[in-house]
Amino acid sequence: MNPARLRFVAPIVGLLALTTARAAWAEEDVLSAGDTAWMLTSSALVLLMTLPGLALFYGGLVRSKNILSVLMQCLISAGLMGVLWIIAGYSLAFGEGNAFIGDLSMLGLSGITPDSLSGTIPTYVFVMFQGMFAIITPALMIGAFAERMRFGPYLLFIAIWLFAVYIPLAHMVWGGGYIGASVGALDFAGGLVVHMSSGYSALVLAMMLGPRRGYGKEPMPPHSLPLAVIGTALLWVGWFGFNAGSELAADGTAGLAFLTTNTAAATCVLVWVAIEWLHRGKPTVLGGATAAVAGLVAITPACAFVSPLGSIGVGAGAAVICYLAVTVLKPAAGYDDSLDVFGVHGIGGTWGAIATGLFIADFALPEGMTWGSQLAAQLQSVVITAIFAPTVTAVIVFAMRAAFGDLRVSHEQEFEGLDLAEHSETAYTS
């Protein structure tokens, strides 16, 4: 049923606008209890990725004086995005609108009732499933500017970013807009919309904020790898809702997406750990955890379009490319992407979007497309996203700096830690 999440939305807009057409539409849309049950479950699984998955993953990787700030940034993303999505986000992403953004026809979810259907599931369930994506995507960026950004500017930034970057991309790819409908690129669960958008934007923000004080001179090792590994495990589990849920139905394609998701993550862990073992002499736990996330990111756009063996290729490629990005590219370029959001999500998402074309299975090729033309469409979508997301982010950050001054905490506050400076709390007492 996916690609084209819009297929479920467009009829609803029509249904609501033209009540006279109700009978005609009603014949097409019949509620499936099985699909609905799976999508309710998937929606909850996607929230599990942010709370507590991502929060623990990032929280464990920062120094002990900053863990609360990271947990709070994840928590407040669920709060802020959870409200903005209902008020205007959903309508702007999935309303009919134009090729680049939706409209305000469903402001406050007006016109949607418990009887409204998106395909075979209630529209309310579709709204909430998509809302969970809107919660996690801004939160993914936290890792890049962790340990130095003020809380107030963070809130404002993710609120503006949701409307200026995420929603236009979601509309262009899934809402019947330019990238999905005109370019013809495939992005099953968000390689472009979620991972590339957050990864590239996060890099820009990290570079504009500047590195943490002491970066490159003093050690900044993770303060709790056990928390980071628990977070990784929860991300892996939640990702089944993210990817297999993006089918919007409990069917064979959802089964394929579930299987390829696990296979790609498994392959990536295996290959990454092998590379690290050979290259640095020790297989590290953090390497394995990073690999799991990189593999999951890479398979996200491709999960319903590649064969099980294809997903091994996607996962293996992610291991090589993301390993190089994290251990070679970052030190060489010198930017301080604290927790490797760009290296894992930006680069992993880029690889996944391209790999969707490289490894596409015959059964997944849309009508009229060849392997070559699909790969070209994928490359085009990558270039658009890689330009659009960071450019708009840079504009947002420039504007915020002009309006509010420095977006970082002071030198002294950074030294004592954001937990105390920004929240008047400490995580660990002894």
Partner: protein
């Protein structure tokens, strides 16, 4: 009276304590310490970023002994703390002017 300050490997604390008990030492003070000497630290690896941890964890023992027990105490510590590898630690000996047991007010060797 002499103060023996011994910097030793953490896993040797129990051995040293037992060896000192055997020769009649009645008490000692242990502090967790970090430092460097000829022993190199270790490296930690996080996503390819290597951190050299050059302050090595050690235990610092402080023991005050009567002069006639000094050589045997040094012998006991040296034997018990030795592994023969770099990083076994050091022993310092300092003179002590006096010693007082707070509970009874005893002074000198009698208070040890």
């Amino acid at each position: 009276m002499k103060l023996i300050e011994a910097i030793i490997k953490p896993f040797k604390v129990d051995d040293v304590r037992n060896a000192l008990s055997e020769i009649g030492v009645q008490g000692l003070t242990v502090t967790e310490a970090k430092g460097f000497g000829r022993q190199k630290g270790h490296t930690e690896l996080y996503r390819g970023a290597e951190y050299v941890v050059d302050l090595v964890p050690k235990m610092k023992l402080e023991i005050v002994v009567p002069d006639d027990l000094l050589e045997r105490a040094i012998e006991a510590i040296s034997t018990a703390a030795s592994t023969g590898k770099i990083g076994d630690g050091k022993i310092f000996v300092l003179p002590v002017a006096d010693s007082i047991r707070i509970r009874t007010g005893e002074r000198g060797d009698a208070s040890l």
